[in-house]
């Protein structure tokens, strides 16, 4: 009854090709954005439940937004272009460290040429975006093997990127500005003279980034480029035969995906962590992002958000349950139980719904269209 597009006639091509052709979808999205942009900050300002303390905003919503952004990046590469990557953590690290370097000033001494390249510290916004661009360049470089290999072989090749950059940021102290402990502090978040330091401001900043990039990604994947990616994913030889250049399609996928992941990495470091060390972007992070994408739904922007929410909130809930039930368990047992439940859920979801939560949503929509009739 509620969700039915009967009576919504499309009279122009532009309407027909709109990003959300169904009115109810537009309303739902506008409501969601309204809640996210206005409702949540208002609740948080006046400390109304569940925003009584900063915890929800700082420890759940902030990482959720940033990881969802990273998951969108991974989804473009894995879900839309079909190139498995286990190196997403490395690209996040590249984004974070190059944004850090650009934000604090780059100095490259070229002793054998007799001069040095110096770039003064850039504003935070441009260093975050340039960090993304650096990650995109690295993504193109590590995407080159994808022209010859694919599938699980490619996964191992991207693993090389992961371990190589782990090592680079740990050992090459130029990247950490020679910090003795190897851990670095983000510069002040100064956006055009506005210093963002309260959780609400940081939340709004991340939300803006995520919204902009989600809309961009959504538009990209339904355009020419996105269709090329999907053709490559479905069968690369056939795509080549109908005139799609694998070189262009694969490398653009790597570039766009790494750019988004790099920006997410810079945000993760600057906005969420504040000070960090290479361990924050280890192989575990890569696997986590891959899980988000697969559980949320391959080839779905919406799915990236659902997957990120699920993977992020599951451990928190699992931690809460034993304390709520009053079962005395040691922290060690809880960690192990968490592992087991997490693994079982992944296996279960893969068996029951291999296409992820996004599929459940679209099934739900189909059902809603017919409701209250069975068919």
């Amino acid at each position: 009854m509620l969700y039915r597009e009967a009576g919504q006639f499309k009279t122009t091509y532009a309407e027909d090709m709109a990003i959300f052709p169904i009115r109810q979808d537009r309303i739902a999205l506008a409501t969601l954005l309204g809640i996210a942009f206005i409702g949540v900050p208002l609740l948080a300002t006046f400390h109304i439940w569940p925003f009584g303390s900063d915890y929800l905003l700082r420890a759940i919503l902030l990482p959720f937004l940033i990881l969802a952004l990273a998951a969108i990046g991974v989804n473009i590469l894995v879900g839309y272009c079909g190139q498995i990557s286990l190196g997403s953590g490395a690209f996040m690290a590249i984004g974070a460290y190059s944004a850090y370097k650009l934000g604090t000033g780059v100095h490259i001494p070229l002793a054998w040429l007799g001069f040095a390249i110096s770039i003064p510290p850039l504003p935070v916004l441009s260093s975050i975006l340039l960090g993304g661009l650096t990650a995109a360049a690295a993504g193109i470089l590590f995407g080159v093997p994808s022209l010859r290999i694919k599938g699980l072989y490619l996964a191992v090749a991207t693993l090389a990127a992961q371990f190589f950059f782990d090592w680079v940021f740990l050992r090459v102290s130029w990247f950490t500005n020679y910090a003795p402990s190897g851990s670095v502090n983000a510069p002040t978040l100064n956006f055009f003279g506005l210093v963002l330091d309260t959780p609400i401001e940081r939340y709004l900043l991340c939300l803006t980034f995520v919204t902009v990039f989600a809309v961009l990604a959504k538009n990209l994947v339904r355009g020419n480029l996105g269709r090329q990616w999907m053709a490559i994913r479905d069968m690369d030889i056939a795509a080549e035969l109908i005139g799609i250049r694998p070189l262009n399609a694969k490398l653009t996928a790597f570039a766009v995906s790494s750019f988004i992941i790099g920006v997410a990495g810079a945000l993760w470091a600057f906005v969420y962590l504040g000070s960090w060390e290479p361990l924050a972007f280890s192989i575990d992070r890569s696997l986590q992002l891959l899980f988000m994408v697969i559980i949320g739904g391959l080839g779905s922007i919406m799915g990236s958000f659902l997957g990120a929410a699920f993977i992020l909130i599951l451990p928190i809930v699992l931690n809460l349950i034993p304390t709520q039930l009053g079962v005395p368990l040691s922290t060690e047992t809880i960690t192990h139980l968490e592992f087991i439940i997490f693994g079982s859920l992944i296996c279960y979801l893969l068996i029951k719904e291999p296409q992820g939560f996004a599929r459940l949503i679209s099934l739900g929509k189909e059902k809603l269209r017919l409701w209250p009739f069975p068919y």
């Binding site: 699980l152 191992v156 090389a160 079982s344 893969l350």
Partner: protein
């Protein structure tokens, strides 16, 4: 100037740790050959097998069993555990996913990894447990040829010896026994194998069991070297470049790849490491694998990848 003696010592040490990588890689290859599943859980299986063995050994010895009996019962117990694990994995994680694409199966084995890591540590404890099945003292060879001789760990020799026996045993199993032939048939073509009456789920159980036994062997050697502990699961990741270099489907490839990675990374660490800040052992294998991939995508011994529309 690099002394020849030092070079040989590093080379031999590297080759021997390469044997250990091969042991883990073998488990991967077996499962990939027989079911097309890329088994991320092999490292966790090594951990599980090692923990089952070392904990039952400790328990039996503490209860006054003689050492030989404890070893026999301990190994028997570990084998039973691996058999149960194999059955559970086949029944609940991999079996229901027949006909799904490789990525889904791969993710499912990552799920299995989490379950195995959690369960094995919850049941058997999560400390580092020393395992002493093999002698670990050092040997000095060729003392007359080089000053100071070449230091070789006895454990490494044992490891190489055991790996040799294991490979010979696997070769005989695959080539000469009825089940082994059935395994190869399933590897070639699931459907054709099924149509001539080979029970696929039984075969997959056998494959996971064999991989579990290989994991047990790897666990005894690695456990003696490093102690049985959680970090043993990271071996699984080190075995991936070994697979790439050798080829996913080749048992000899796993051995040669392991030796190359082991020797290569030790030599690189000792002779190149000081110039690059050290620790290049960490990524050397992966970059080597990347180089091999660019030249020979199917690995050194893999079957050429043929694609049709």
């Amino acid at each position: 100037m690099i002394a020849l003696g030092q070079f040989l010592e590093v080379l031999i040490g590297g080759l021997m740790s390469g044997v250990l990588y091969s042991l883990v890689a073998l488990g991967f290859v077996l499962i990939f050959k027989a079911s097309g599943v890329f088994n991320f859980a092999q490292g966790a299986m090594v951990l599980l097998a090692g923990l089952a063995l070392v904990r039952s050994l400790d328990l039996l010895v503490a209860n006054g069993f003689p050492l030989w009996a404890a070893i026999i019962f301990g190994i028997g117990f570990a084998v039973v555990i691996m058999a149960i694990t194999a059955w559970l994995i086949e029944r609940f994680a991999i079996g229901p996913l027949v006909n799904q694409d490789a990525l889904t199966l791969f993710m499912s084995t990552i799920g299995v990894t989490f379950i195995l890591e959690g369960a094995s540590q919850m049941i058997f404890g999560s400390d580092a447990y020393p395992l002493r099945l093999f002698p670990t003292d050092a040997w000095f060879l060729f003392e007359s040829h080089f000053p100071g001789g070449i230091l070789v760990n006895k454990l490494d020799i044992w490891g190489g010896f055991i790996a040799g026996i294991l490979v010979a045993g696997l070769a005989i199993f695959f080539q000469r026994t009825k089940t082994g032939r059935a395994l190869r048939a399933v590897a070639d073509d699931h459907l054709a194998a099924q149509s001539v009456g080979i029970p696929i789920s039984w075969i997959w159980f056998v494959v996971w069991l064999v991989a579990g036994l290989v994991a047990l062997v790897a666990a005894t050697v690695w456990g003696t070297k490093l102690g049985v502990q959680f970090s043993i699961t990271f071996l699984a990741l080190k075995a991936l470049p070994v697979l790439i270099i050798g080829g996913f489907t080749s048992v000899p490839g796993a051995i040669v790849g392991g030796l190359m990675v082991g020797a290569g990374e030790k030599i690189a660490e000792v002779f190149l490491g000081p110039y690059m800040g050290g620790g290049i052992e960490y990524w050397f294998a992966y970059v080597l694998a990347l180089a091999v991939l660019l030249v020979r995508p199917q690995g050194l011994f893999g079957e050429p990848i043929i694609e049709r529309i």
